[in-house]
Assembly symmetry: none
Homo-oligomer: 418 residues x 2
Amino acid sequence: MDQGLRLAAAVSETRQWDRLMRLARIGAIAGDGVNRQALTALDREARRLMIAWAEEAGASVSVDDAANLWFRVEGRLADAAPVLTGSHMDSQPAGGRFDGMYGVMAGLEVLCALKDSGETLDRPLEVVAWTNEEGSRFAPGCMGSMAWAGVKPLAAFAETRDAEGVRFADALAEQLAAEADLPRRPLGGTVHAYIEAHIEQGPKLEAEGLDIGVVTGIQGSRWFTVTVMGDSTHAGTTPVSLRRDAMQGAVRAIMALNTLTADPTDVLRFTVGSLVVEPGSSNSVAGMVRFTIDLRHPDAAVLAEKGDAIAESIARVIAPCDAKVEERFSATPLRFDPELVASVQGAADALGLRWALMPSGAFHDAQLVASAVPSAMIFVPSHKGISHNPAEFTSATQLAAGTRSLAASLAQQAKITK
Amino acid sequence: MDQGLRLAAAVSETRQWDRLMRLARIGAIAGDGVNRQALTALDREARRLMIAWAEEAGASVSVDDAANLWFRVEGRLADAAPVLTGSHMDSQPAGGRFDGMYGVMAGLEVLCALKDSGETLDRPLEVVAWTNEEGSRFAPGCMGSMAWAGVKPLAAFAETRDAEGVRFADALAEQLAAEADLPRRPLGGTVHAYIEAHIEQGPKLEAEGLDIGVVTGIQGSRWFTVTVMGDSTHAGTTPVSLRRDAMQGAVRAIMALNTLTADPTDVLRFTVGSLVVEPGSSNSVAGMVRFTIDLRHPDAAVLAEKGDAIAESIARVIAPCDAKVEERFSATPLRFDPELVASVQGAADALGLRWALMPSGAFHDAQLVASAVPSAMIFVPSHKGISHNPAEFTSATQLAAGTRSLAASLAQQAKITK
């Protein structure tokens, strides 16, 4: 742990904060927010800045076929499987300054701390920025980590289109062309351990006055798209009894889903976050409504039962409209590697940080990486639990505590004791 | 009524249908639709065709300062106030073949029937094509009838611009210059009675197997915008009990409004046609939802009571969100002249047509003309109630029944009994 503590001591709170604030200017929106979506010119601008800082820290830079961006510092044993940290640099359309970006910046800060401290780890240390974690431009999210971990082939996403009709494959090709000066590395590979730092995005750590959350796993998710079909007619001339009003169909469907997902223990999470109406004219009855369902629970059995009941719950109330329910994505609940979790916990103890074990309510790249590599996560507090929002906030001190914890944990994992 | 019946008998179903189909080629769009907007070259091409047919029927042609187009056949008493029919020739951008155009064509067909039958009416008979009823190129609609009736001076619309930035005054001047060969008549004048034939644009007549609707008035409208404010938080990390979910707030508000506007008589029309969510991401709780309300009823008291209760109905269910209700537009209900309505009804009876009294769900030029002249309307069925859509359809037989009813009603009004 001595090397881990020296590395942690070299973490610079102000450098990390200043760089995060500099990054937040790329795609800045009102109220301290950030709108910097995957595979856009803003994304590329942010990556160029990170690349410059990584090179300054002595890291070699490369990119893989999924446009995941890699920074690597060699260890004492060049052939050893590296330890890996990272997260994502894309944001929600009205996102904050920390979600994802903090985890990549924390990794960069560890690289800088490594250089500043003069330490050398046994294993190589790699930092990755995964492509399109948010899934807000191209659904689903976590495409980069999913493709890297071999959960789905990259080609499976090729025809996905954004709201402007741009194909994912074309946006990816544009990104890779713009970064053609960077060495290309293969997609996938052997990694010794993956530890991702992230803001909690929930209220628990702040409420309990803790420094970090040692994350035990990630609740499962199922995402659906529901399309309600009706007839678009004139709002003034069509009696209500003769309408097939897709908006009213969608309202009935959401009410039925509220009943289906009602949970007195308040663990099940059901969200309709997007709803689009066609033609969307105030004096036309809606002919089509399409809305999303985000359903999450840590228990695979509950998630299966509730998710499987969605289509039938809607079918019971949707007449005289019709509805189509499509599952776009699902992830079973995940438990992180117990030994790695125990080691993160040990590092936090050694640093004198206040921590708690907790599951992650949100979905992260670590969920995908964990299918290929022993993985864990470190959470830092989120003010009032606010996230996916310009008001997202974690203090410089809280962020630095998380990064020190990450540094010590990575150093521990990088040690070859045999 | 004998003269009215003879005039009705001279109405030609095939001539009227063939001419409507010929007109529909001017501005034809996919799926039998028409895009022929006001004061365009297509509008002028359609008017030239109508002018040629009107002259063939022995009518004199003129145009007024608002580019309303007039056809006139003298009566036995040249100085008597004329009876007037007509509608508009402009269409929605993705409109059908019948909305507006049918009413002008029906008027022309009555002129032709008058010539073919050899009848002469006591009063002069005039047919008008009002300028810019749809309001889709230059808002608002009904400019021609509004200016003619003196509801608003023509100059009030001068600076209105279309999507390409063309001023209404310039488009009007271009139209008048292109029709400088036509005699100019004054804007306004004394008219004995106005009867407008139009497609229903609703499903009632077809559903009830009726030939025509004897329109009693135009229902009133109140348009509102409702903004529901919540907090946008992370769909995975925020317990449902701690959310201020604007989407759920909007669903509760719409359910409350469904209760408020429930009408066993199926006369009240409540429509939420547009709903926008922010940030609108599938894994973010909605921070803001804005939706529209279109409320219509023929009874001013009902419209006042229900419209005034909207804000309170929403307020009762909106917690923990907040809501703001804004009224954007209102139009009080209009009752057509009862004697004229009774006379239209009598003519339909004399012709053996199946009819029903009904209010108009949509706005029409007759709403403006009614402020200056005793007015009424005759509706013909709309297949499935579809309108403002290429699929708009009324059969040749149904259109002819409407025109026969119009011919008999106009003949009745043209009679000078004293």
